[in-house]
């Protein structure tokens, strides 16, 4: 049995999801020879530290009841700097302007030779090369499947399963909120504003939806794909982005009458990286509805491979984090 000492920085939807799947999958982890011992959990208010291993159930219960996991003031960064452990699970909020605490946490983790598994897009969309270099220099493992497409496998699919293929292009729907709004606009022949309101009520869209509907979230994911799969060095500001706010119900109906749906599509290939609403033939594998994500990967050897799945959600995203953890430490 291999014991991995881990910290969870950021204890929101994804961080709590990670704690839940670690509890739920204890037997499975034992079977693959892994004992993941969480020695610290932090949120914005502080942290709980226990070098013998935190009781995850009571940490989850305390977070639910008190709104914070904190028992002491130490910040996630201080924990990474001062408490001995192997793995940092980085699930703090995305900050797309500076990289935020996530960027500092990751760099500090590499600095002290720790591995990082993350769902946090901001640092990767802004400072991909810097992070890769830091992880290489310290010999740290660095995995970020959850940053793109949540539970939909894509980065590891391309890097591991499709290894040996040249990837010619990737295109797909990388934002479930936009997909939901466009799908519902078409179903109800309703304007954008109305379906945005509906998705906010259902908790699918944020109160400030701009990050999703303006295409920024999709652009960040596309940048991470472009950099990790194509070896490019884009930042999200390089992406040509158009969001969905101008789409009308009439345009959706016209498209439908001609055998198309309109979807917010991210596309990357050698000389192009863009996010824009596009006409997708109804019978295309990319024409998935609801909050689903989908991606078509065009390769030289395998032809086109298409994957679809849940792009967000606490447990779904945590599942991608778990699979990264297992693939690092399983023998």
């Amino acid at each position: 049995m291999k014991t991995i000492r881990a910290s969870i920085s950021g204890f929101g939807a994804v961080g709590q999801g990670v704690a839940e799947v670690l509890l739920k999958k204890q037997d499975y982890l034992k079977n693959v020879g892994l004992d993941i011992k969480v020695i610290a959990i932090s949120d914005s208010k502080g942290s709980e530290i226990n070098t013998d291993g935190i009781d995850l159930s009571s940490a989850l219960a305390r977070k639910l009841e008190k709104g914070t996991v904190a028992l002491e003031d130490k910040s996630s960064l201080e924990i990474i700097e001062s408490v001995d452990h192997d793995l940092v699970i980085e699930t703090t909020s995305t900050d797309i302007n500076t990289g935020g605490i996530g960027l500092k946490n990751m760099l500090s983790a590499f600095n002290s030779g720790k591995d990082v598994v993350t769902s946090n897009k901001g640092p990767l969309a802004l400072k991909y090369n810097e992070l890769m270099e830091a992880s290489r220099n310290s010999g740290s493992n660095f995995r970020f499947e959850a940053t793109v497409g949540g539970a939909m496998p894509i980065i590891n699919l391309i890097k591991d399963v499709l290894a040996g293929n040249d990837v010619i292009s990737v295109e797909g729907i990388l934002n479930g909120t936009c997909n939901y709004i466009l799908t519902r606009m078409m179903e109800e022949n309703a304007p954008y504003e109305q379906m945005l309101a509906e998705s906010q009520e259902l908790g699918i869209a944020e109160t400030d939806p701009s990050y999703d509907v303006d295409g920024i979230d999709s652009a960040c994911k596309l940048v991470i794909l472009a950099n990790s799969v194509f070896g490019m060095c884009f930042s999200y500001k390089d992406v040509d982005v158009t969001g969905i706010t101008k789409i009308t119900p009439e345009s959706l109906l016209l498209a439908q009458n001609n055998g198309y749906v309109i979807k917010l599509i991210g596309e990357v290939k050698d000389d192009l990286i863009r996010v824009a609403p596009r006409l997708v033939p109804e019978d295309s594998p990319l024409a998935v509805g609801g909050t689903l994500n989908v991606a078509s990967i065009q390769t030289d050897l395998s032809g086109t491979v298409t994957v679809t799945g849940r792009g967000a959600g606490s447990i779904e995203t945590a599942s991608a984090v778990l699979s990264d953890i297992v693939s690092i430490y399983r023998d």
């Binding site: 295109e171 789409i247 009439e250 345009s251 016209l254 198309y260 824009a276 006409l279 997708v280």
Partner: protein, 166 residues
């Protein structure tokens, strides 16, 4: 009849005018001229040019021989056929921004044409939506015509929704 013609010009100034003169002499109408810059000059350092003209089919042989007399090679002549079909959606103030001019952007190319347009205008002052079907002589030409359309649309603050590449 609309004809597409591949001709070869000598690499010296004034050659294009030389080629165009007989077309107008024979009452033909030049629709478009495309220099294939990207294609390598051929062996004899001639410049390949593709033009599309409207001309009385009976005058076509006369045109070819006049061009030859002027030292202009005629590589290929054929009736223009639109084999590639495409579609785009436009969203914005389409009608108030000279819809004819928007359509002409594609039609003027000679290698692509708007063959169908369905317009949906919910209310005055609201943005309208249109579905355009575009035919073109080839895939590259279709993409080129959509790029031109996008440039014009940008000036007019229209959103162009293009098809994904399949």
């Amino acid at each position: 009849m609309r004809v597409s013609m591949d001709i070869e010009l000598q690499d010296r100034p004034g050659q294009l005018l030389q080629a165009l003169q007989p077309i107008s002499d024979l009452k033909g109408n030049l629709i478009s001229v495309v220099h294939h810059h990207e294609k390598e000059k051929n062996r004899r350092s001639k410049i390949p040019v593709q033009c599309v003209i409207d001309i009385d089919p009976e005058k076509l042989d006369e045109l070819k021989s006049q061009l030859k007399d002027r030292g202009i090679g005629v590589a290929k002549v054929g009736e223009q056929r639109f084999v590639e079909r495409g579609a785009v959606v436009l969203i914005g103030h389409i009608v108030h921004n000279d819809i004819q001019d928007t359509i002409d952007t594609v039609d003027r190319t000679g290698y692509a044409e708007v063959v169908d347009l369905t317009l949906s205008m919910p209310k005055i002052d609201q943005t309208s939506s249109a579905f355009l079907k575009i035919d073109a002589v080839g895939k590259e030409e279709l993409n080129d015509s959509i790029s031109l359309l996008k440039e014009v649309a940008k000036e007019k603050d229209l959103l162009v929704v293009e098809p994904i590449e399949t």
